[in-house]
Symmetry: C2
Subunit: 155 residues, 2 copies
DNA sequence: GCAATAAAGTATCAATTGAAACTATATTCC
DNA sequence: GGAATATAGTTTCAATTGATACTTTATTGC
């Protein structure tokens, strides 16, 4: 062991990534198994359920997903009849998305499950711990973003 | 908003995933830019630096990476002359991996950078917060794992 | 000791991902 | 109002990923 010893097990970015993957995998497999929804598809449904009439562009900014991912999930959900696309009177390039009757019904089923899954994973934390965890995620995310932006700056 | 309102922005698994990606991306791009190393490659180097003479199988269990990923990273690092593979006297199917002189030198450069990156991202948290964050990650990870294992059980 | 089975590592292939190119519509500027 | 540029969304393509099949060596049971 040198003085720059890294002790990979304790390297926090690494642990964060592993934990996040464990959580994502647990949730993704539940969505697929129970509702044949990918996580991207479910995210779109959840966002549209909160506010109807969004465009794909708005979904991209809200979910931080790639626009190709949003495009594909939108197409899949439309083909499956879970969302509807209506012309956007204000802009011919985009469409306004809303949940269909089926989509609304599905959302009614999936939303409680999503919350139940969250509860099973985070349920043993008490309120204070949850608040702190959220706060820490915020601060860590900001720092990481700043780092990326700095380094990305040309010159 | 319904009573099953999900408020995606506050859905913790989602926030965890976003934060983790921000951190991973910041670190991955730094490794690639400065040392032309993928994160998998860097992880192998870090683990081998901590203990020489491991087999790929042992690397798989320690890093939780897929064995295909480990195989590919091992081949790439060997071709680049950063690690060496010696016959395993105890088992002809596997080889013992160790850092080459070049690999050791590279590790000397990268390890401080890795720690500096971690410091830039997590540095504003104090000791108590770091300890708590680690503890929370542990507990969350265990709960998620348990959930996956339960559901994965046949029958 | 030799079949039958297991394990380490690699190769193959199909699915997922996102960058870049593309189409269609909007906006800007003269 | 028309050329030049920008933006919303889709398509294409190349890279990454991991499941599966495969090769080689170990182990097990007879």
């Amino acid at each position: 062991m040198t003085d720059t010893n890294l002790q990979l097990d304790n390297f926090l970015p690494y642990r964060l990534s592993i934990t996040s993957n464990l959580v994502s995998d647990a949730i993704a497999s539940a969505y697929v198994r129970l509702f044949a929804l990918s996580v991207s598809e479910w995210r779109l449904i959840a966002v549209i359920a909160e506010q109807n009439g969004l465009t794909q562009r708005e979904l991209v900014t809200r979910t931080l997903m790639d626009k190709v991912t949003v495009s594909r999930a939108t197409i899949a959900l439309t083909e499956r009849g879970l969302i509807e696309r209506k012309p956007n009177p204000g802009d011919g390039r985009s469409q306004l998305l809303s949940l269909s009757a089926d989509g609304t019904e599905l959302y009614g089923h999936v939303a409680p499950l999503a919350l139940a899954l969250e509860a099973q994973i985070f349920g043993e934390l008490d309120q204070k711990e949850l608040a702190l965890f959220n706060d820490l995620l915020d601060r860590i995310g900001s720092a990481a973003k700043q780092l990326t932006d700095e380094k990305g700056t040309p010159g």
